[in-house]
């Protein structure tokens, strides 16, 4: 990328209409993302008709900034109300909510916005330098490699499931099983749908997430255990603790490695179409815990994993555009919509775009940059506003959250079926948590289940049922050996932990 291109792109992005589009998109994204149950995909889809009337760059800039903002803002209901905004943010929702319950809501939100923005900025910079190269590398990944990556993602389950890995395994298996409901791609026939047309569309994770995290938490709060919690919990944050970005630079100094590792993971995994975005935050959180000097603090409102996962989340966002821009292979619904808008504006994605008109993709990445810069001030206001949410008495806010849960589950596919899923998931989640089964692995299984299965079955079809196919391609072989080693270590440490429990050493999962 020449300096000249960068300069031209900068001039384009700094036009009034483009900046206005970025700001508008950011405010809109912030609003949608902060509403519990509304997703970035929805935010983007709703913008499409508007882009009909806009010039190409403002149109794309609008989508870019609203997506970045919606995904980051999705962490607000996650931290305050335990309603994760995206499947990726489910990886660290427990952590940030624990922080809020300890009276540090301001800190949780500050970390979310600050490190998302920082991760996004670094991710965009990496992209500016390595975009097309990264895309070419990502294109070498076939179902064999994707399978190993999905398996690696599942192994983080052991790291997010707390003190009892067996119960975590049960949660994961339940999530994976929910993911098998629906039309089976291999046979084209319904699977576990019990004759229901609605179920043949599968169980989408948004209502499950809302139910398992938010609804079950409300039930818990109304029960005796919740009441006891409320009595012992720290008093709501004082105004000082709610001051946005307070002490954030100290955290940056304490955990620089988390930021670097998270961003690196996010940027590289994010470039893998269809898999990377959701996976990056989970793996980052797992890696952070694995290599932390204080892994026992994870899950209690500890900033380390939060920093790593949230920066991975946003740095992966910009990378996800690379396969879409360079090869027209969109990794998720958001980039698919964006590719559509690009076509509509006469900008055909493809390598020719980078060769013949490098200013355009560069401007798109620069829009990302500007949008992420905007995260700092907008986050400031969002955190200020969030303080009001915490001041509302429970008797007023809980009914409101419940109605939002209802609406969010309805709006995902415009059907009451989603509401039913949410209610069932809420009850199941409540019973599971009451009996010390962690929730996060359910979401992990739900998200990665289809990826794991489809890539395994596809690979087996390609190698005609020969399992050695997973080690024949060089990258797949390397990944496979790595994953098997991690798997071995995970199982071994789980067994070791269990022996210790059997020997009668204290284990809070059994005594609490």
């Amino acid at each position: 990328m020449s300096f000249d291109t960068l300069l031209q792109a900068a001039v384009l992005v700094l036009q009034f209409d483009v900046l206005l589009a970025i700001l508008g998109g950011a405010v809109y994204g912030l609003f949608i993302g902060a509403l519990p149950g509304l997703t970035a995909t929805m935010a983007t889809a709703l913008l499409v008709p508007l882009t009909f009337y806009m010039a190409p760059l403002p149109a794309i800039a609008l989508i870019v900034s609203s997506t970045a903002m919606a995904i980051t803002a999705g962490d607000i209901p996650g931290a305050l109300l335990r309603i994760p905004g995206t499947p990726a943010s489910a990886a660290y929702t427990e952590e940030s909510y624990a922080m809020t319950r300890a009276g540090h809501a301001g800190r949780a939100l500050s970390i979310g916005f600050f490190f998302s923005a920082l991760g996004g900025l670094i991710g965009a910079t990496v992209l500016l330098m390595t975009g097309p190269l990264l895309a070419r590398l990502a294109l070498n990944f076939s179902s064999f490699e994707f399978f190993w990556l999905a398996l690696l993602g599942l192994l983080t389950c052991a790291l997010v499931s707390g003190s009892n890995p067996v119960k975590g395994g049960v949660s994961l298996a339940i999530g994976l099983l929910i993911a098998t409901v629906g039309l089976d791609v291999t046979s084209g026939q319904p699977r576990f749908t019990f004759g229901s047309v609605e179920l043949s569309g599968g169980v989408s994770f948004i209502p499950v997430m809302i139910g398992m995290f938010a609804f079950s938490e409300i039930l818990r709060g109304l029960s005796g255990i919740g009441a006891a919690d409320a009595a012992t919990a720290a008093t709501p944050a004082s105004d000082g603790a709610m001051r946005p970005y307070r002490g954030i630079l100290g955290l940056l100094k304490t955990y620089p490695l988390s930021l670097v590792r998270g961003t690196a993971l996010g940027s590289s995994l994010g470039a893998l179409p269809g898999v990377g975005g959701d996976l990056a935050a989970w793996i980052a959180y797992g890696v952070s815990r694995r290599f932390s000097r204080t892994p026992q603090k994870f899950g209690t409102g500890h900033p380390e994993g939060l920093i790593e996962a949230t920066s991975a989340n946003n740095s992966g966002l910009s990378s996800a555009w690379i396969p879409a821009l360079v090869f027209g292979i969109p990794g998720d619904a958001v980039t698919a919509i964006a590719v559509g808008v690009l076509y509509m504006k006469g900008v055909a994605p493809g390598p020719r775009l980078f060769a013949e008109n490098p200013v355009m993709p560069t401007s798109i990445i620069l829009s990302f940059f500007v949008a992420n810069l905007l995260l700092f001030p907008l986050g400031y206001f969002a955190i200020k506003a969030a303080r009001m949410v915490l001041k509302v008495p429970r008797s007023v806010i809980v009914p409101m959250i419940l109605l939002c849960c209802f609406l969010g589950s309805y709006a995902i596919n415009n059907t009451l079926f989603g509401v039913g899923i949410m209610l069932v998931a809420g009850l199941v989640g409540y019973v599971m948590e009451r009996n010390n089964f962690p929730i996060a692995p359910v979401i992990l299984g739900l998200v990665l289940g289809p990826v794991l299965e489809r890539n395994f079955i596809m690979s087996m079809q390609i190698s005609r049922g020969n399992l050695t196919g997973f080690f024949e391609r060089p990258v797949a072989c390397g990944l496979g050996i790595f994953v098997l080693i991690v798997l071995g270590l995970t199982v071994w440490s789980a067994i070791k932990g269990r022996r210790r429990v059997m020997a009668g050493e204290p284990d809070d999962s059994l005594t609490s």
């Binding site: 026939q189 005796g224 009441a227 008495p393 008797s395 109605l403 509401v419 009996n435």
Partner: protein, 155 residues
Amino acid sequence: MRIADRLFGPLLTAFGLAVLWGAAQLPRVPGVRFGGELMPTIYGIALIVFGGIIFLTGLREGGPAFDADEWRGRGRAGLAAAWSLAGLLLGMVLFEPLGFPLFGLLFVAVMMGLMGARPLTILIVAPVFVLTLYLTFSGVLRVSLPAGPLGAILP
């Protein structure tokens, strides 16, 4: 609602067996070695094994096999929890005929009342909140929500 591990384990094992049975019923595709039955089978086996482990470790655990102590003597909070479930279930039936604004108002007002909000608060907050939500969704976000009888006066 607590279920002792020595009971929960066998429940999971039974669930795993049911999954195995369900997977065996799935149609096979000729010429495909691994089909849609493979993954459910693996997950089912995992549940059976995990259920066994949980049962064995749970044997050393004392206490009742089942209790719901956290709901004992919760009074209005218990009623509120029941309404959160029943009200939303009712909503699935009344959503179309009643429309979102009226159902939302009913649900939020009753819930607030059960949770001990003051009548004046309910009277002001519930309608404003529900109406804002409705107008945001149907107006700004263009997610069409049933308007019900109020459709005539709402945009």
